[in-house]
């Protein structure tokens, strides 16, 4: 086995042997189970809270279940991904493990790519598993799964999360401490989120438009095709950021 593949294996083992295997999966699975339930019960809950008032709420639909799911994924879920990934490189530099690893025949590019691949596999597999549970649960509660649209929304989410992981990895690489890495990562996420609000074209083509497209597709006001430009830009941004991270890390001294 080459140094690169040994290090990739170590990254997967680290996920399985540390808190990382619990935080993101548990949170995402929790959202998968509760989102359909919340969507189904919200009208009844609201009515029960104000029994003497006539409130006309639309009947809950399958789309509400997914809207609830992606709202949770795209806010708390992403923050959980960030906080479990901020130490990917910064922590290895601070603790001195990077020194022991990089004075062995491990290419520097593989040090970064291994972390990206392992974290992406964790986040994407968790997202798909959570989506599968939500799909099943939504069909059980609403007798309608909206499979095609919800699956397309999951594709947008997955690509968006790849960019979030790339942003976090970049922040962790340029930072001298885990705290600074966290601040840079959250700042990056915030920037991605507000970009669509700054200009009409950014609302259509910037990576931060993807969560809005997910909502619109589920509400039936946008199609997957309309989201494709933003999807491609997000993928390209993630790839460029990853290449930049590798180049910066190659020049860094430990």
């Amino acid at each position: 086995m080459s140094g690169a593949s040994v290090f990739l294996k170590k990254e997967f083992r680290e996920i399985l042997r540390t808190y990382k295997i619990y935080v993101v999966p548990c949170l995402f699975l929790f959202f998968a189970i509760t989102s359909p339930l919340i969507a189904k019960m919200t009208p009844a809950l609201v009515k029960s809270l104000v029994p003497n008032m006539e409130i006309n709420l639309p009947d809950p639909k399958a789309a509400d279940s997914y809207l609830q799911l992606f709202k949770n994924f795209n806010q708390i879920g992403i923050l959980a991904v960030i906080f479990t990934s901020i130490g990917l490189v910064a922590d290895e530099k601070v603790r001195g493990t990077a020194i022991l690893m990089l004075t062995k025949p491990i290419p520097k590019w593989s040090f970064i790519l291994s972390k990206f691949i392992a974290t992406s596999v964790l986040v994407l597999s968790t997202t798909i598993l959570a989506y599968g549970i939500c799909l099943f649960y939504t069909f059980f509660l609403f007798k309608d799964a909206m499979f095609a649209v919800s699956a397309q929304a999951v594709i947008l989410a997955a690509v968006y999360y790849l960019l979030i992981i790339a942003v976090t990895l970049f922040s962790s690489t340029i930072s001298r401490s885990v705290a600074l890495s966290g601040a840079c990562s959250v700042g990056g996420f915030f920037l991605l989120s507000i970009l669509p609000l700054l200009h009409k074209s950014l609302a259509t083509y910037s990576p931060g438009a993807l969560p809005t497209f997910m909502d619109k597709m589920l509400a039936g006001t946008a199609t997957f095709g309309e989201a494709v430009p933003a999807l491609i830009i997000t993928l390209v941004s993630a790839a460029v950021l990853l290449i930049l991270t590798v180049q910066i890390f190659k020049r860094q001294e430990l």
Binding site: M1, T18, I99, L100, T103, K104, I106, P107
Partner: protein, 336 residues
């Protein structure tokens, strides 16, 4: 003075330089580390030892100059020699969730070991470093245990060259002895580049030493050559009944009549011609008596007892002291 032999070099540095802004951490360093040697790399704190090690192990790039590690240049981010070296940093960092045999197994795999060979190397290095049978997670290790595991991982690939940065500083006396014994066993087959400030360790295991100060090489020699080069012996003398030397008389004898030391003087140099054997001597208070460095040892061996007897004093101790590596080190660093 630098001694360069014709043996094959494990490491050669040529005007190696590292600059951080205006600060020159390593200044035109020229080292020659013979293959198979245990090479002590000495220097006070901030001398540039760790910076040099970082450049030689591929962790930092030189600002100027070059170094050949096992015949390969370290410039242009060349990392191709890393498969043939081992490195033990001063504070080795490990993955807390791993167990020692897992870390060693991973380290060996990175070097391309597999199957029975990997298993046997893991077992050998655990045995060598006294960690055989230790199953607990590395996160619960003491600093000394981590240092020993650090040594084990540095040796897992049977490297041709091992870099060690202060390898014994965190160890108890027994652990320190074990590490030094391990280094002694490797001598001759593996080149050890051993950065330290513990001079006893250098005296015990190293055959060649380089001393650097303020980033520049002060000297590089075989230890026995270094001792010979700086073999200016001292005389240590103590007087009976706690009596003290009559400095006035000593000065007068050394300088000639009329000379007197400054009040409260406890050390000095008599640099002008005086009595034979006492001219040019250096003296200072040392322990219960005086440490005297004569310019002419043989003459002083005769003159000093005579001088003391003339003062009506009796000698309790009169001994020749060979300079320790510490004396040489302090002397050289002070001069530089």
């Amino acid at each position: 003075m630098t001694t360069k032999t014709t043996t094959i070099a494990a490491i050669e540095t040529h005007n190696l330089q590292k600059r951080f802004g205006d600060y020159l951490a390593v200044n035109n360093l020229n080292l020659y580390v013979p293959k198979g040697s245990v090479f002590g790399f000495l220097g006070p704190n901030g001398a540039g030892k760790t910076t040099t090690l970082r450049m030689l192990t591929g962790l930092a790039n030189p600002t100027a100059g070059d170094a050949l590690v096992l015949g390969e240049s370290i410039r242009n981010n060349n990392r191709s020699y890393l498969g043939k070296i081992g490195f033990l940093p001063d504070v080795p960092g490990f993955y807390d969730w791993m167990r020692p045999h897992e870390f060693l197994s991973m380290s060996g795999s990175i070097f391309g070991l597999s199957g029975k060979r990997l298993k046997s190397r893991v077992a050998e290095t655990l045995e060598l470093t006294g960690l055989k049978g230790v199953k607990k997670r590395i996160g619960s290790f003491s600093r000394g245990m981590k240092q020993r595991l650090g040594l084990a991982q540095a040796l897992i690939n049977e490297p041709e060259l091992v870099f060690m940065d202060e390898p014994t500083s965190a160890l108890d006396p027994l652990g320190r002895k074990e590490v030094l014994d391990t280094i002694s066993k490797l001598a001759g087959t593996t080149t050890i580049f051993f950065s330290t400030h513990i001079l006893n360790d250098v005296e015990r295991v190293c055959d060649t030493v380089a001393i650097i100060n303020k980033g520049a090489l002060v000297t590089q020699q075989r230890i026995q050559d270094l001792r010979q080069s700086y073999s200016s012996h001292f005389i240590y003398l103590e007087l009976e009944n706690g009596a003290d030397l009559d400095l006035g008389a000593l000065y007068a004898t050394a300088y000639g009549s009329g000379a007197a030391p400054a009040p409260g003087l406890t050390s000095g140099v008599a640099s002008t011609p005086g009595a034979p054997g006492l001219a040019g001597l250096e003296f200072e208070r040392y322990r219960e008596g005086w440490r005297i460095k004569p310019s002419d040892l043989r003459a002083a061996q005769k003159s000093l007892p005579h001088f003391i007897a003339e003062q009506g004093l009796a000698l309790r101790r009169f001994e020749l002291i060979e300079p320790s590596l510490e004396d040489i080190f302090v002397g050289l660093v002070s001069q530089s």
